[in-house]
Point group: C2
């Protein structure tokens, strides 16, 4: 084997403790082979981690990555008006080349902020998969199905595409691309379509990812029938152990029990929930109930970045406010949510720095004014570090960024193309 050594730093271990150690990686296997004192000294390739912390690569468990093209295009509007007046018209004008450009831009931003894996729900999914392939990241991808407002034929085609894409792309990019069947939400996909296509997804062996309980308006139609969305979802065959939903803002005790009992996961998206005034997810209650919780940025248009370290801070701060308890969603829990939590929920490798785990790693510099002094590196990861503090990013044993230089994408070209395409896109949409 040829090896990569990450040397001279401190390492965040699965128990959320930090110790001085090197990390040794088998590059071909894409696996961590050792963590310990000086184990990286004789590696074939080395990354300096002095005055830094080596942590599992961050996993963004819910996003719409090509929406980076719409970053800052429309802000400060309620979800409904924002979707109808701005987002949907722009997305209707988006072609495959736009999706590719936006996905490349998002991949560049993710690598620069220490994210190594992500979950994406969008359209033109082969373009997203191509960006994953060239960038060196890993991802779980799917085609989002929407049936409301569509003719039956069109709705069935959309759902069939989601299953077909999940079957075709699973295992692409040398196994770094995994897939899911992705009905958009419980209110935007009809029960009939779900009943027809869910068995096909189960047959294909892919999990199901969907939005649920994001806004009060989304829960109301169920409440009017004396039902809860996740009870409905469970009865309809969703909430298998590998399934996971985004948001889970408005959940009652029974729904939290459904999640804990089934093992289905929740992806918390605190910044998006704040920006769209959706509400505050009961994160500490979910953790206390033993629900699998990951963290996601949602699309860049409702955030407006893909910085998972920023999202960790948002989760820790909002979790306290929401629980009315300053000890809720403590720093180690918030950091775990963005690493092991997201990886488990998304069913992606990575999430821990330990022998045998995937070599998906981020190295965060601590030699900065805003990270001085260092009383507790985990506190800094939760509250004070940002994407710009990431020094190196490694995925599947390959160095994607070294000393802030991204090696797999041409940053200037990606940015220039994205700027051009975004400007043309909003011109077409207007």
């Amino acid at each position: 084997m040829t090896t990569l050594g990450i040397t001279g730093g401190r390492v965040l271990r699965p128990g959320m403790t930090v110790e001085r150690a090197d990390v040794l990686v088998d590059r071909e296997a894409g696996e961590i082979v050792d963590v310990g004192s000086e184990v990286g000294a004789d590696a074939d390739e080395r990354l300096d981690a002095s005055e830094a912390v080596v942590l599992p690569g961050l996993v963004n468990a819910h996003t719409h990555v090509a929406m980076t093209l719409l970053r800052g295009y429309a802000d400060d509007k309620p979800l409904d008006a924002w979707l109808r007046e701005d987002v949907w018209p722009a997305e209707a004008a988006m072609g495959p080349e736009d999706v590719r450009s936006g996905a490349r831009l998002g991949a560049l931003e993710m690598i620069r902020s220490g994210t190594t894996g992500f979950v994406d729900m969008y359209f033109e999914v082969p373009e997203v998969a191509a960006a994953v392939d060239e960038s060196g990241l890993r991802a779980r991808l799917g085609h989002g199905v929407v049936t409301v407002g569509k003719e039956e034929n069109e709705a069935r085609e959309d759902a069939a595409e989601s299953v077909a894409i999940a079957e075709e792309l699973d295992g692409a990019a040398g196994g770094r691309v995994r897939t899911a069947f992705m009905p958009h939400s419980l209110t935007t996909v009809s029960d009939e379509i779900l009943a027809e296509f869910l068995p096909e997804a189960r047959e294909a062996g892919v999990p199901v990812h969907f939005h649920a309980n994001e806004t009060r308006a989304e829960v109301e139609p169920f409440a009017e029938r004396g039902e809860r969305p996740l009870t409905h979802a469970r009865e309809r065959g969703l909430l298998d152990p590998a399934d996971f939903l985004a948001h889970g803002v408005h959940l009652d005790g029974e729904e939290i029990d459904h999640l804990a009992e089934t093992g289905a996961g929740v992806v918390h998206c605190p910044a998006s929930n704040m920006k769209l005034a959706s509400g505050t997810a009961p994160v500490q209650r979910l953790l206390d109930a033993g629900v699998a919780v990951g963290l996601g940025t949602d699309g860049a248009a409702s955030n407006n970045d893909l910085d998972m370290l920023g999202e960790v801070r948002d989760a820790a701060l909002l979790g306290k406010l929401g629980a009315d308890d300053a000890s809720a969603v403590a720093a180690p829990d918030a950091v775990r949510m963005a690493t092991a939590g997201s990886a488990a929920v998304a069913g992606l490798p990575g999430g821990r720095v330990a022998p045998g785990a995937a070599a998906d790693l981020a190295v965060v510099s601590l030699d900065r004014a805003h990270l001085t002094p260092v009383h507790d590196p985990v506190s800094h990861l939760a509250y004070a570090a940002r994407g710009g503090d990431v020094r190196h990013t490694v995925c599947d044993g390959r160095v994607l960024m070294r000393d802030r230089e991204v090696l797999t994408l041409d940053a200037d070209a990606v940015r220039a193309t994205a700027q051009e395409r975004a400007a043309a896109l909003v011109d077409r949409a207007a």
Copy 2:
């Protein structure tokens, strides 16, 4: 005059519009003399602002800067336990050299994140003033008075020191240091002490800055007597037009009226209010009522950084969640709060890029993946830019940071000393 030209960029104007323009500065006067096309081309010294936005230097209107030494020392605890078990014992062990070191570290962090002015409530204030002087920043400083739990003599000495410091230091550092009388809060300073020393502060012509309505527990003793804290404050002679309070989380309609009627300002501290689970300030209601609102980070121990661009994002996001309205605290309002708003509330120069205004400026790079594409630079300043994106910082006509190199402080030495002093401090406190 010798001139500084900031050239080739876009400029954020007081109306929160952005236009392509240069900024020309009179270095000796520390003033902006012109804003317009090519006006900086022949300046004696130039700063490149291509692919960047020139904005007013950010003003952190409420902090305790030396608490940078306690960054990450104790997290995830309620305000009361955090103060009693961690912060107060550590502060009791802090000497003048620690305050100097922490203030230098904070100044370094502020310069690196585009902050040019701040308001500080602490002790050993001459040490903070010295750090302001050497760093080139400007500030309004005061000694925080606490009388609860103290003998009468000691309490009176503390209050007398706050007035004396305000008198002595006002105008220091070539006028860049201004001062205030700073009774810590309405519940930690007795009415008797306030009645005795407030007239002295008025005589000295300095404003009053204090914490108010931060937590529910702080409001309760007033509510039990059928009173509201700010009604009490107004009756006690506080809330002059130049006075300003930090937090204002738990305010009723009558108190908002007091603020609007008197012109006294409020400093919103969203991150600290979330981290300590204090609650959500009614920011949009304050803005609608015409109250002067600024923005502050509070101390780094409850944030955990001094990044005002991050705080702008926190204010915009939390403002929406708190108002249950995604259109509340819109991007331009949040950016204005951190610039013109904070400057007005704190009574410091700066806050706008216009001829005649103080040359306090930050230049924020837009040539980054997470700031691409640029549909609207104001959106990026509110939602996606962070302190690490600041390219140059100018205060009072002097370049404090050029291309991310801080010119007034030795960054490595400041960090090394702070790390050493912080470690020794918590050893002594434990």
